[in-house]
């Protein structure tokens, strides 16, 4: 990745309104070749609208949007030659077989016959869909459908790949296949933009844009975002995490307390000073088995800390 090269995707002041709803409010970001750029935020934050504008299927109201130097708003058809878009909802033909879907998308992008055969074999193998060529797409499992979507999206070797929550409802094995393909693409210099609701996936992205109410509030690498989080993070492990959460949420020095499965993530202004106070508060509340230890923040912690809202 060459930092001095012009970014593949350049977004400036991008805005979209639907009637009274201001879905995207003047966002800026840039994505370089070989980056996996993650869009993170709750539903309704503007991720899908942004994706659709990037894909050239929705016209922005204001702002500029270029992909490989092509103005997507002005000349969407030229931009579409080199991008691939996987909508949030499965967009392939369920009454066509796996092989027919791949063939159809290869033909729409005028992939030469030989290249199509070689590339579809390679992609189907990577996606674990070998031997399913004659199966109707509608009869595939959720994970297989999404992988087929990826195969169809990649059959013409795009320079930009746009994925809107591609692994939602996908089993862990399929997700692993999916990510293996994405990493390979990144190595070959494809720019990937991906909206995701999974925080573990967000961690794997090169950079993240944190969406909130139609704005990109923060945009950086996962590591730098975590470093920018104010305060220190403690994990409270208890048999009854809900009781622990209630006991400490209002303690002095607590900036935020987030229930995460079997534990509570507590962000405090000063870990050394507040740990004994928290232990005391837990004992008073009768949560006897609680254990407090420092923990590195995840993207969810960062999101909540920076934006005061949950990312999904």
């Amino acid at each position: 990745m060459n930092a001095s090269a012009a970014p593949t995707i350049q977004v400036r002041g991008l805005t979209k309104r639907f009637g009274a709803v201001h879905a995207v409010r003047g966002i800026d970001f840039a994505v370089s070749a070989g980056e996996i750029f993650g869009l993170v935020g709750p539903d309704g934050a503007g991720k899908t609208t942004t994706m659709r504008m990037l894909a050239g299927v929705l016209r922005p109201d204001a702002g500029t949007l270029t992909i490989d130097g092509v103005d997507v708003a002005r000349d969407p058809e030229r931009a579409k030659l080199h991008l691939s878009y996987m909508p949030q909802r499965f967009g392939l033909y369920e009454d066509l077989t796996v092989g027919e879907n791949v063939f159809f998308y290869a033909e729409l992008f005028a992939v030469p016959r030989r290249e199509r055969i070689a590339r579809s074999a390679e992609l189907l193998h990577a996606a674990g869909l070998e031997g399913f060529e004659r199966r109707l797409a509608g009869q595939l499992s959720g994970g297989m459908k999404q992988k087929l979507g990826l195969v169809c999206a990649l059959i013409h070797t795009p320079r930009v790949l746009l994925l809107d929550e591609p692994t939602t409802g996908v089993d862990p094995v399929s997700r692993r296949d999916f990510w293996a393909i994405l990493y390979k693409l990144r190595e070959s210099g494809v720019s990937i933009v991906m909206a995701t609701a999974y925080m573990d996936e967000a961690e794997r992205c090169s950079r993240l844009a944190l969406f909130h109410a139609g704005e990109v509030r923060h945009c950086d690498t996962p590591a730098r975002l975590k470093a920018s989080m104010p305060g220190a993070l403690l994990a409270v492990l208890a048999a009854q995490p809900r009781a622990a959460h209630r006991a400490i949420a209002a303690s002095p020095g607590v900036l935020g307390a987030l229930l995460m499965g079997d534990r509570v993530h507590v962000r405090v202004d000063d870990a050394a000073r507040r740990t004994p106070q928290l232990e005391a508060a837990l004992r008073t509340a009768g949560v006897a088995d609680a254990r407090i230890e420092p923990t590195p923040p995840g993207i969810e912690d960062v999101f909540v800390a920076l934006l005061g809202a949950s990312p999904a």
Binding site: E77, G91, L96, Y105, L108
Partner: protein, 378 residues
């Protein structure tokens, strides 16, 4: 436009048609069903019209007249009535369409003056049937008259004058057997084609929206024109197959005479298919729900085709305002052409007016359709 992308669209659409039982049923079974229903069910001929007879005189002559009614295939005598109130009751009860009353002094008047009157009362709630029945009745009376006239002259010693003996021979051209089926069936083909054509394409675009395949499709370089043609071409083939099936049924099953030439028929049918498919496509682009699109397609094709195309109701019998409206009712041109080809052996040249009308429509619809679809979500 890229031939390769167009072929891909056509291929994909054809596969979907073949795998969708619903569109296959619409495409293949519906025309057969409708041809049977409309071919057998719709007939403007009436046979065995129920009539009642009140013969006040009841003489040899009047009985002979009544037996003439009986003998005619058009009527079936339901009942012989015996008073005027009975006439009223029979009509009110709907037992008969017409009641014939022969006055008590019929023979006497006839003998004295050479002319007499038979009264016929019609139930005109069904205007059409009563009109036709009236025509039939007059036909029978005319026959009777001819006989009476001849006998009257014989009885009074004079010779039947040549002037009085007008030989009434109604001239009927093109549909010599006066079988309304020959007139109806070519129109049925138009109705079926309009119905099915628009139904099929009305679902194509809305289906892509409903199933969520449109968003991905419009993110590819495929053009709006390729999408339109890719959807119209396979359905055009289906429409032409349907037309061939219906026309073959008309000729070989319903024995409608076919006198024109096949090329003219092909050109007209192709133009008509294009128009109805284009209309279905336009609806599909505008209406994103499959159900709504199919309902609207039914409305804009079936109503004008059955009511205003001249298929059942002759256009020149309509009020002038409605006649003017039929000029923009596209099926009227096709119905005119079909009848011309079937019954009159009209050539392309004879039919230049309706053909021009269809060409104008085809160009207009395809032009509108090509501009209707945009590769955008908003």
């Amino acid at each position: 436009m890229s031939p390769r992308r167009l072929f891909a669209m056509v291929y994909k659409e054809a596969l979907q048609i073949l795998r969708d039982p619903r569109s296959l049923a619409i495409a293949l079974v519906m025309p057969l069903m409708q041809m049977g229903l409309l071919g057998y069910g719709v007939s403007l001929d009436i046979k065995h019209v129920p009539i009642c007879v009140y013969d006040q005189e009841n003489s040899q002559l009047t009985r002979a007249i009544v037996s003439r009614f009986d003998a005619a295939d058009w009527f079936s005598t339901v009942r012989t009535l015996h008073d005027q109130a009975g006439v009223r009751r029979a009509i009110d009860a709907g037992e008969c369409i017409a009641a014939v009353v022969i006055p008590v002094d019929f023979s006497r008047t006839l003998a004295a003056t050479g002319g007499a009157t038979i009264q016929a009362v019609f139930d005109a709630t069904d205007v059409n049937t009563s009109n036709i029945a009236q025509g039939y009745l007059q036909g029978v009376i005319a026959e009777v008259n001819a006989g009476i006239e001849a006998r009257w002259f014989a009885a009074h010693g004079g010779q039947p004058s040549g002037i009085g003996q007008i030989d009434l021979q109604p001239g009927t051209w093109f549909n010599e057997t006066l079988d309304s089926r020959n007139f109806i069936i070519p129109g049925v083909v138009a109705v079926i084609l309009a119905l099915i054509g628009a139904q099929l394409t009305s679902l194509t675009i809305s289906r892509e929206w409903e199933r969520g395949t449109m968003e991905q499709l419009i993110s590819t370089p495929v053009t709006a024109l390729e999408v339109m043609l890719g959807k119209l071409i396979p359905y055009f083939a289906v429409g032409m197959i349907d037309a061939a099936v219906c026309l073959a049924l008309a000729v070989f099953w319903f024995d409608v005479p076919f006198r024109g030439n096949l090329l003219t028929l092909f050109v007209a049918t192709a133009l008509f298919s294009l128009v109805v498919l284009g209309i279905g496509y336009l609806i599909s682009v505008r209406i994103r729900s499959q159900l709504a699109a199919s309902q609207i397609a039914l409305l804009v094709t079936l109503l004008p085709t059955t009511l205003l195309s001249g298929y059942t109701f002759p256009i020149d019998q309509m009020p002038r305002v409605i006649q003017a409206i039929t000029l923009v009712v596209y099926p009227r041109y096709y119905v005119t052409i079909l009848r011309g080809i079937f019954l009159k052996a009209s050539t392309l040249l004879d039919l230049w007016q309706p053909l021009l009308g269809m060409i104008v429509f085809a160009i207009l619809i395809v032009w509108l359709a090509s501009r209707a679809f945009h590769k955008r979500l908003d």
